[in-house]
C-alpha cells in the first residue's frame, strides 16, 4: 500500500526528517533528536505537522441533535467558539475514537478524529445522522493542521499578523475562532496534545507551506523547533493523555479508561453505546486505567505485564523513560482492586520483575 503524505512532506524531507508509517501516513518521526524536540515544547515552542488527522464538518439545523446521537458528550450547552473533548462509542459501549468537537457557528461544527479512525468516524457520523437536517463534509484530504505548542506558542502565533495576534491573546484554552487569510477560511484553536499551552491551526493544503515557513521566519526571538511523532508521543504520555490504539480501543469502555464523566447520560438523545453502558453506570469496571512510575531506570513498555505477588493483575499500554522527569512513566490497565494510588506492583521487563508504584496521571503538569 502506498503511504499517504501531507502537503509538507518536502519541507520535512528538507529538514532531514526520519519518517514512519503512522496509520497509513508517511509522517515525520523526528528531525534530529526526539529529546531535543520534546524539551523544545516543554521550554520554548515546537511545531508539529498534524495534517494526517481528520477534519469532518457537520452543518445544519439538526447538527447538535445529530452529534448528541453520534457521540457520547452533550453538545447542546456548548457555546459558539468552544471546543470539547469527547468519545465516539460502538453499540457495545466501547471506544471507536476519541476526538475534539469545535463549535464554529450557530449550526456548524468541526470534528477532529485520529488519523487511523478518520474514515470510520466519517462513516459512523454519516450513518448516525441519516435522515437529519445536517450535511457531513469530510475535508480531511483538503485541509492541513499544524500544532504550535509550548510556553512561547502565543508569541509565535501573534507574530503571524495582526489578526493572529488578536486571536492569540483573546483565545482561552479550548476555544476556537475563524480567520480569513488570503480569501480562505482558517481555523485557530487553543488546543493540543502535549500538556503545554498551544494552538492548532487548520488551513487549506495549498496554504500550509506558506504558514510553515512564516512560523520559522517569525521575528519573535524564539527559536521554533520542528517536532515529530516520537516527541508528540512522549509529551502526551507525560501529560497523562491517552492514545487511541494504546489506552483507548474497541476493547475498552470509557468507564475503564476513566472517562465516565464525559459520557452524558443526562442528555435526552439515545446515543450510540448508551444502552450498553447505562446498566453499568454504578458498577465499578473490572479493570481501570492507572499511571505507573518507578525509581529504577528501566521503562515498562506497551504490552509489559503488571504483576503482584506473582499474579498477573494488568498490562502496560504505553511506557517510556520520561525525558522531563528522568524516570520511567507508564499508563496501563490494572484489576480495579489493586488500582489504589501508592500500591507497589511489579512490571515484567525482559524477564525481570521490577518495582513500580501506582500513581494518578498526569505525570507532568505545567
Amino acid at each position: 500500500m502506498t503511504l499517504k503524505t501531507t502537503a509538507l512532506f518536502e519541507a520535512h524531507d528538507a529538514l532531514g526528517a526520519s519518517f514512519t508509517d503512522f496509520n497509513g501516513w508517511n509522517m515525520p518521526l523526528k528531525y534530529s533528536s526526539e529529546i531535543t524536540e520534546h524539551k523544545a515544547v516543554r521550554e520554548a515552542v515546537g511545531i508539529f505537522d498534524l495534517s494526517h488527522m481528520g477534519e469532518i464538518f457537520v452543518t445544519g439545523a439538526d447538527a447538535v441533535k445529530g452529534l448528541n446521537t453520534a457521540l457520547a458528550g452533550d453538545f447542546s450547552k456548548m457555546t459558539i467558539g468552544r471546543a470539547k473533548y469527547t468519545v465516539m462509542l460502538t453499540e457495545q459501549g466501547t471506544i471507536l475514537d476519541d476526538l475534539i468537537v469545535y463549535r464554529l457557528g450557530e449550526d456548524r461544527y468541526l470534528l477532529v478524529p485520529n488519523a487511523g479512525n478518520a474514515e470510520a468516524v466519517a462513516e459512523a457520523v454519516t450513518e448516525r445522522l441519516a435522515g437529519l437536517d445536517a450535511t457531513i463534509d469530510d475535508a480531511t484530504d483538503r485541509l492541513s493542521l499544524l500544532g504550535i505548542q509550548g510556553p512561547q506558542a502565543q508569541d509565535v502565533v501573534a507574530a503571524l499578523g495582526a489578526e493572529f495576534a488578536e486571536a492569540a491573546s483573546s483565545l482561552k484554552n479550548y476555544r476556537v475562532t475563524q480567520l480569513t487569510v488570503d480569501g480562505s477560511e482558517w481555523i485557530v484553536a487553543r488546543t493540543g496534545y502535549t500538556g503545554e499551552d498551544g494552538f492548532e491551526i487548520i488551513t487549506p493544503n495549498d496554504q500550509v507551506n506558506h504558514l510553515w515557513n512564516r512560523i520559522f521566519a517569525a521575528d519573535t526571538g524564539v527559536e521554533v523547533t520542528a517536532c515529530g511523532l516520537a516527541s508528540r508521543d512522549s509529551l502526551r504520555l507525560e501529560a497523562g493523555m491517552p492514545l487511541y490504539g494504546n489506552e483507548l480501543s474497541r476493547e475498552r469502555t470509557p468507564f475503564e479508561a476513566g472517562m465516565g464523566r464525559i459520557v452524558s447520560f443526562d442528555k435526552p438523545e439515545n446515543f450510540v453505546g448508551r444502552a450498553a453502558l447505562e446498566p453499568h453506570r454504578e458498577t465499578a469496571p473490572a479493570q481501570v486505567l492507572v499511571g505507573l512510575t518507578s525509581d529504577q531506570r528501566r521503562a515498562g513498555r506497551s504490552g509489559a505485564t503488571i504483576v503482584l505477588d506473582g499474579q498477573t493483575i494488568g498490562v502496560v499500554t504505553s511506557g517510556i523513560p520520561s525525558p522531563t522527569m528522568s524516570q520511567p512513566v507508564a499508563l496501563g490497565y490494572i484489576d480495579a482492586e489493586h488500582a489504589a494510588v501508592d500500591t507497589a506492583v511489579d512490571v515484567e521487563i525482559r524477564g525481570k520483575a521490577l518495582p513500580f508504584v501506582i500513581t494518578k496521571p498526569p505525570f507532568y503538569t505545567r
Binding site: S18, S33, E34, I35, H38, A230, S234, P321, R350
Partner: protein, 126 residues
C-alpha cells in the same frame, strides 16, 4: 544516510570495533540513529567475560530498547563511565566519545568490512 568509518570493522548487529589492543567497541551511526536518543546504557563490567554474538548489555531510548551484542569473545578491560553517566554521548559521537567498552579478545565473531557494512545499512563510508 548514515556514516560508516573506513578504519573500523563491523558486526551484523551494528557494533564497530577498532584494531587496538585491547579492542574498542561501540555502536554504529546507523544503530544510534535507529535507536533514537539513548537515555540508559547498561554495559558489561570490568572483568566480565563476553561471548561473540551474545547479549552483553542494553541500550534504552525514549522510543525503544535494544540489546547490545558483543562482536568478540574475551574479557572486559574497561567500560565507558562517561557514557553510563551521559548516554547522549552515543548519539552525539558514536565512533568517538560514545564508545562503549574495550575487550582483551580471545576470539572474534564474524565481522564485516566498512564496504560490506555500508551496503547492508545503505550508509556512506567516509
Amino acid at each position: 544516510m548514515t556514516v560508516v568509518k573506513p578504519a573500523l570493522r563491523y558486526s551484523a548487529e551494528h557494533e564497530w570495533l577498532n584494531d587496538e589492543d585491547p579492542v574498542r567497541i561501540g555502536i554504529t551511526d546507523y544503530a544510534a540513529d535507529q535507536l533514537g536518543d539513548v537515555v540508559f546504557a547498561e554495559l558489561p563490567e570490568v572483568g566480565d567475560t563476553v561471548t561473540a554474538g551474545e547479549v552483553c548489555g542494553e541500550l534504552e531510548s525514549t522510543k525503544s530498547v535494544s540489546e547490545l551484542y558483543s562482536p568478540v569473545t574475551g574479557t572486559i578491560v574497561e567500560s565507558n563511565e562517561d557514557v553510563i553517566q551521559n548516554p547522549e554521548r552515543i548519539n552525539e559521537d558514536p565512533y568517538g566519545a560514545g564508545w562503549l567498552f574495550t575487550v582483551e579478545v580471545s576470539e572474534e565473531g564474524p565481522l564485516l568490512t566498512p564496504e560490506e557494512y555500508a551496503e547492508q545499512t545503505e550508509g556512506t563510508v567516509e
